[in-house]
């Protein structure tokens, strides 16, 4: 309520490093200003599968090669035109600074407005998607700002790629090479970090629609890029971010109208109250492309028994858990097939569905399974066949409110059934350490997640090969019985990776993976996370898309993209 200039301002909440350096390579980068300052070649709308060109006009994908025709009217906020030189500088710098993405073997510029990416042999099909949609790929390091380091960066990047290539072939690169690389990389990194444009240039020329111009510890102001190709359409010329210090703070800001849109978790009663206090507030929920799951540590013998896992799946009342934890979320019941609930119908055939076990809450069934497997109920407590009680602790990361609530409910339900479950919080900053070291028995974690590449492959990869696998150590290379014979989920995931771009082939593989995942329960999904987006419509700004507009599905992994798209297309306008 502190500013009266309703004309053309959007107020949001986010986080950013302060003291502000404006260095995209620095930790924290530029915080929530990222998607406003750096445009990707294109936006991808998961719900429709449509690419919306941004810095690219068009592109051509060939085997191992992507050719992109750049937009000719792109300009940096200091008026300098955007050309292929900028892309090359950017790729050199990010490869040098981040050791990523080595999937790009080289970039060349046939002319000022064309770039050609040559991809390495190992690059998965999905990487093309990354090139097109990642905000860092196009103009993170403008030539006229970072150009003087371009060659140095290329040198570092090439050395890095060489080492990477050797290691991924299983060879050890010789020490001299490594030393050489480390020295050069460090040198470059020091220079780049010391350069931090906002400190040395007092501004940061960006190609995106907004440039951060004024930053304090509690607020960050972005000013519209006058030279942006869509500037004339933009009715909103200023964005003010308040610091997202806590959920309650965001609630308070939303209620009092200090910010116009945000996506905090909010208990139902607070939402009800909110709409009374601030009637202009609307909410749209969209899938966050991830789910929260109960994960097990397979190093503990207790969980190796599929019967116990099945029993647990039957015991849990997942809609109740969802109600307690995030009432807006999508319940994953009654399946556990590893595909997001909201995408289920797109990827799993009716036929497969009929083959999958339904885990609806059913104590009787759970008891039967357990008894058959030799478990006994003594008094109020279930005992394993070896006579030990079924007792374990459930770890959950403290700072994640919704997880804690879910855990609380899970513990309650399991205890009601007769397991002895205790709950333990993982302190701030310790999640990775605790989970990786295997110092837990069961935990609440992200199960499958489709960030980065919205495709079931990313979820299965997590489950059987990468992040979730790393903490659970689920025996993914074992073979499991399926209607299609004995299969290993690890191998299936490998297969899926290669055919990911091909919808039909991937669907085939996915059926098998879904079956194994549902029947062998490497994790038990609890609910699909959603982004509840609260936006004030008609008070200060108006023109938000309809609730069913597929545009919203752009939000996960960078909600600012939605805002940016709305502003630059002239849809979001100040209220007159």
């Amino acid at each position: 309520a502190s500013t009266s200039s309703s004309s053309g301002e959007l107020r949001l909440a986010t986080d950013w490093p302060y003291p502000f350096h404006g260095n995209p390579f620095g930790p924290g980068a530029i915080g929530g200003a990222w998607w406003f300052a750096y445009e990707p070649f294109a936006y991808y709308i998961p719900q429709t599968g449509e690419y919306i060109p941004r810095l690219a006009e068009s592109w051509k994908i060939e085997k191992g090669k992507v050719t992109i025709n750049l937009r000719k009217n792109g300009k940096f906020s200091d008026g300098k035109p955007f050309t292929s030189k900028d892309v090359i500088t950017t790729i050199n710098l990010i490869q040098a600074m981040w050791q990523w993405p080595y999937e790009i073997e080289s970039v060349t510029a046939p002319n000022n407005y064309t770039v050609v990416f040559t991809l390495s042999k190992d690059a998965p099909q999905s990487f093309v998607h990354t090139i097109l949609t990642d905000g860092a790929m196009a103009a993170l390091a403008p030539y006229h700002v970072y150009g003087k380091w371009s060659n140095q960066a290329k040198e570092v990047a090439d050395l890095g790629k060489k080492i990477f290539a050797l290691t991924s072939q299983g060879k050890t690169p010789d020490a001299q090479l490594k030393k050489d690389y480390d020295k050069k990389a460090d040198q470059l990194r020091k220079q780049i970090n010391a350069f931090s444009p906002f400190k040395t240039l007092k501004r940061m020329p960006v190609v995106g629609s907004f440039e951060p111009t004024k930053i304090t510890q509690s607020e960050m102001v972005l000013t519209a890029n006058k030279y942006h190709w869509l500037y004339s359409k933009m009715k909103i010329r200023k964005i003010t971010f308040r610091r997202w210090s806590s959920n309650e703070f965001v609630w308070a800001s939303l209620i009092s109208g200090e910010i116009y849109a945000a996506h905090p978790n909010m208990p139902k009663d607070v939402v009800d109250q909110l709409s009374i206090l601030n009637p202009s507030l609307k909410v749209k929920t969209t899938s966050d492309l991830s789910e929260i799951a109960l994960v097990f540590n397979y190093q503990k013998p207790l969980f190796k028994d599929i019967n116990l896992r099945k029993a647990i799946a039957y015991v849990l009342d997942r809609s109740k858990i969802r109600d307690v934890a995030v009432w807006q979320a999508f319940t994953t019941a009654p399946y556990a097939h590893g595909i997001l609930k909201s995408m289920e119908s797109k990827w799993i055939t009716k036929d497969t569905m009929s083959k999958l076990t339904k885990y609806t809450t059913n104590y009787k069934l759970a008891e039967e399974i357990l008894k058959k497997a030799g478990y006994k109920k003594v008094g109020n407590t279930w005992q394993q066949p070896n006579g030990q009680p079924v007792a374990f602790t459930l770890s959950v990361y403290g700072p994640h409110n919704d997880w804690v609530l879910a855990a609380r409910e899970v513990v309650q339900q399991l205890n009601n059934f007769g397991f002895k479950v205790e709950m333990k919080l993982i302190p701030d900053g310790m999640r990775d350490q605790v989970m990786k070291s295997g110092d837990y028995e069961a935990a609440i974690e992200f199960g499958v997640a489709w960030w980065g590449y919205p495709h079931p492959y990313t979820g299965y990869q997590r489950l059987y090969q990468t992040d979730v696998y790393n903490i659970t150590k689920f025996p993914a290379k074992d073979k499991y019985a399926t209607p299609w014979g004995k299969l290993s989920p690890y191998d299936l995931t490998e297969q899926l990776r290669d055919v990911a771009q091909d919808k039909k082939k991937s669907v085939d593989v996915i059926q098998k993976l879904a079956y194994i995942t549902n029947e062998y329960l490497p994790v038990i999904p609890l609910f699909e996370k959603v982004l509840p987006i609260y936006y004030s419509d008609g008070r200060k700004v108006t023109g938000w898309p309809a609730k069913d507009d597929p545009l919203w599905s752009l939000a996960p992994g960078g909600i600012e993209r939605v805002y940016n798209l709305l502003i630059t297309t002239g849809k979001l306008v100040p209220k007159k």
């Binding site: 806590s246 804690v404 309650q412 993982i426 605790v434």
Partner: protein
């Protein structure tokens, strides 16, 4: 003779506490909570099943403090939570008082370099900001699977220093007292001087400190539970309060106002009881406050 001794003790320590209004009220409040922690859980059942149909019920006969965000009776949780709150708090303040007394007495009594070293140790603990340090220490021990006693010790480590400082000042004053000199002349030995001569005079003082520690010990133990050091207990008042304020946002909805209110009420009452008792005892035993007699 035993009897007489007791009656002396009663006359000197107990009776004044009972006749002072503040300490009496404080004592009543504390006994109430101790009762709650000891026999409360045996009498009051606990049903933690969430029941969304009964969320945010106002206080009634069925639910004396109403129900919470999960539809669970708040009163039951308060009663069951009091056990961990009070035991951890009391244990931590007890340890703090013990450590503080040992260090304080040693510092006050020992002279020369050793005394200076002790003094430096106390000062070091005084100047390090205790709450952040506790957080860090807790983080270090997260995976150590500590039991309640060890956790209380961990809390106490950051509580004892001010007490030690004050006690050392007291001991410094007492040790130059003439009756100590008399004991020395009678070859009474260090143990006697420390534990009989000096300790006797410190008792009311130590007790006051014990009670005042309750407040900080409580705050610290809540902090620790958040850190996951202590076993997570959803009925712990601190956890309940955290749920109410941050998770359920009860302040933000008029329906839920009673939810944090009753938790805060209990926390405040418990600490207030301690403060009252301490104030009362101080009035009774501090001759300066008592006036001439």
């Amino acid at each position: 003779m035993k009897n007489k001794r007791f009656s002396n003790f009663f006359y000197d320590y107990i009776q004044p506490i009972l006749t002072n209004k503040k300490s009496l009220i404080g004592l009543i409040i504390l006994s109430f909570f101790i009762l709650m922690a000891t026999i409360g859980p045996l009498v009051v059942p606990l049903n933690m099943n969430s029941n969304f149909a009964e969320r945010y019920q106002k206080p009634s006969l069925k639910h004396p403090f109403g129900t919470d965000y999960f539809g669970v009776d708040i009163f039951q949780q308060i009663v069951h939570g009091s056990r961990s709150v009070i035991s951890l708090t009391l244990l931590a303040s007890l340890f703090a008082v013990i450590i503080g007394t040992i260090f304080g007495v040693a510092r006050g009594y020992i002279e020369g370099v050793a005394g200076k070293i002790l003094d430096a140790i106390i000062t070091v603990f005084l100047v390090i900001p205790s709450f952040p340090a506790l957080l860090i220490l807790a983080a270090i021990f997260t995976n150590a699977k500590l039991n309640a006693v060890e956790i209380a010790l961990l809390v106490a480590i950051w509580l004892w220093a001010p007490l030690a400082k004050q006690i050392s000042a007291q001991v410094l004053a007492i040790k130059s007292k003439e009756f100590i000199e008399a004991s020395k002349m009678l070859n009474m030995g260090l143990g006697y001087i420390l534990f009989s001569d000096i300790a006797k005079l410190l008792i009311p003082y130590i007790f006051i400190n014990f009670v005042t520690q309750i407040k900080s010990a409580m705050e610290f133990s809540i902090g620790l539970m958040f850190l996951g050091l202590a076993k997570f207990d959803p009925t712990h008042w601190g956890i309940m309060l955290n749920y109410a304020l941050y998770q359920a946002g009860a302040l933000y909805t008029p329906k839920g106002f009673h939810y944090p209110f009753f938790i805060i009420l209990n926390i405040v009452l418990l600490i207030y009881g301690g403060i009252l008792l301490a104030q009362g005892i101080e009035e009774v035993f501090n001759p300066k406050l008592r006036g001439h007699e």
